[in-house]
């Protein structure tokens, strides 16, 4: 039984949770994440995305307290029985606010990345090695000795990813990492995520805007009112345009366009595109066939 759980980086089993001041933020959540999988959590504001992210590294319930039932296993570890510090090498959590998640102790980018490992008392050599590695992975080379507060939002967010990478976690969880960034910063962050995915990392991203998310996640989970409404391949979830919209989530505009073309123009479409590239292919085909 224990062995089967170790196989999954994340395994959530019937998780229900209430904050001390807010009841049932999550209800009966169950899902498993495979190694190397990229999962997007989508849903409107207040759907419980952040709470779910925080449940994965034990902040929920340890930091906040509250009532819970069900279990979450991260790399086989029960989050209820392990402290957030113990889980910090298994789950790396990146927050929404670029500046606020900086430690406030580190003077340079390098210090900031090594902060987590220092907290866990790793030997100095290991820390320096891993720090160097993480800096390269997120493309912050050359900025090692800058103050973290001098960086742009996009750079700060990549720094936050690097701080997490240095801990070599099994899963990287990002809570709306691009919500407060400018377009350039957004694309930088998603580029780093794509690269990490290519190297085999397991990634879970909660995001309000789906456009970018759709281009690299394998699977999407639609969360609304603390429940999972829909869980499936990205394509499967995104083609349910009406359902997404009724939950207050905007599907990618190309998908929505195709949906409108189908429903308004009563055109027969086998499948909706979910990225711009796919849309170009589809509409080129339609135009050539003279159907539009």
């Amino acid at each position: 039984m224990a062995v089967s759980k170790v196989q999954y980086p994340i395994s959530v089993e019937g998780f229900t949770y209430s904050y001390p001041s807010k009841p049932y933020v999550l209800r009966d959540i169950s899902f498993k994440v495979e190694r190397g999988e990229a999962v997007g959590i989508i849903g409107p504001n207040g759907a419980g995305k952040s709470t779910l992210c925080r449940a994965l590294n034990g902040l929920v319930p340890h930091f906040y307290g509250g009532r819970m039932s069900g279990r979450i296993y991260v790399a086989g570890m029960d989050t209820l029985k392990h402290t957030v510090a113990e889980l910090s090498t298994k789950v790396g959590l990146v927050f929404q606010e670029p500046e606020t998640q900086l430690s406030g102790l580190a003077l340079t980018v390098e210090d900031e990345i090594s902060f987590g490992l220092s907290m866990l008392g790793y030997p100095k050599e290991v820390i320096l090695d891993r720090t160097r590695e993480a800096i390269e992975k997120v493309g912050l080379k050359g900025l090692e000795h800058r103050s973290p507060f001098e960086l742009s939002g996009g750079q700060q967010q990549r720094l936050a990813i690097a701080t997490v990478l240095a801990m070599k976690p099994e899963v990287i969880v990002l809570d709306e990492p691009a919500a407060q960034l400018d377009p350039l910063g957004k694309s930088q962050v998603f580029d780093v995520l794509r690269e990490l995915l290519r190297e085999g990392s397991t990634i879970l991203v909660a995001e309000h805007e789906i456009e970018e998310l759709a281009t690299f996640t394998h699977r999407l989970i639609l969360l609304d009112g603390g429940r999972i409404l829909c869980d499936g391949s990205s394509r499967h979830v995104l083609r349910q345009v009406e359902r997404l919209k009724s939950s207050g989530v905007d599907p990618p505009s190309v998908t929505e366009l195709a949906h409108l073309v189908k429903t308004v123009c009563r055109m027969r479409l086998e499948d909706y595109p979910i990225t711009v590239e796919e849309a170009v292919g589809l509409f080129a085909e339609l135009l050539e066939g003279g159907r539009i």
Binding site: P20, P61, F63, G65, M68, G104
Partner: protein, 204 residues
């Protein structure tokens, strides 16, 4: 690791551990806000100190310890950076302020909607607290006029009319502390009432 018994799906009540670490972040915030208060006062050339209001705020939001440690830390840092080492003693002034704030809260003298009940709080801050500052200022630094013109004038006036050195220092202290503490206390009460609920979690 021992395998746990098969989990029942019953609810578990979890005790929060966040308060401690919230305090660790709250304290430097309080210290920095004290500093910034002082800077703003200088910027606007207002005749008050403005650097203890965050101590009160911290006490109102997160309790005696966070408030007094935050204020104390501010004074230690100021002593090391700007004021000079012996001035770390003023850290105790913040402990006194945090203490007075707690008394006011306990006695119900800390409600902006009941202005009459604020009067004893003002008396504590305005008249009792300066006894402490005067004692420190004479006992440790020898006493003398402050470098802000207004209190220095008060000092000179008292000294010339009564000839009492101690009284002059006390009256000088009162003349700055009364407006300073009253204003600071009102501001911190106003802000404390608008602070997000989740931070009040510390207060237990």
């Amino acid at each position: 690791m021992t395998e746990s018994k098969p989990e029942t799906s019953g609810e578990v009540e979890v005790v929060p551990t966040g308060a401690k670490i919230l305090a660790v972040v709250m304290i430097p915030t309080i210290a920095a806000l004290n500093y910034v208060g002082g800077v703003i006062v200088e910027l606007l050339k207002a005749p008050i100190w403005g650097d203890t209001w965050a101590t009160m705020l911290g006490t109102l939001i997160s309790g005696f310890w966070v408030g007094s440690i935050g204020g104390f830390l501010y004074n230690i840092i100021m002593a090391f950076t700007l004021w000079g080492l012996p001035n770390w003693v003023w850290g105790f002034a913040n402990v006194v302020i945090a203490g007075i704030t707690v008394i006011c809260v306990k006695m119900g003298w800390a409600d902006l909607r009941k202005p009459v009940k604020l009067i004893p709080a003002f008396l504590l801050f305005g008249l009792v607290y300066p006894i402490f500052t005067t004692a420190v200022s004479i006992g440790l630094f020898g006493g003398g006029p402050l470098w802000k013109p207004l209190p220095a004038a008060v000092y000179a006036a008292t000294l010339s009319s009564t000839g009492n050195f101690y009284l002059a220092n006390y009256v000088q202290a009162i003349s700055t502390e009364i407006p300073d503490k009253i204003i600071s206390f009102v501001i911190s009460l106003a802000i404390a009432s608008r602070v997000p609920r989740r931070l009040v979690l510390l207060k237990r």
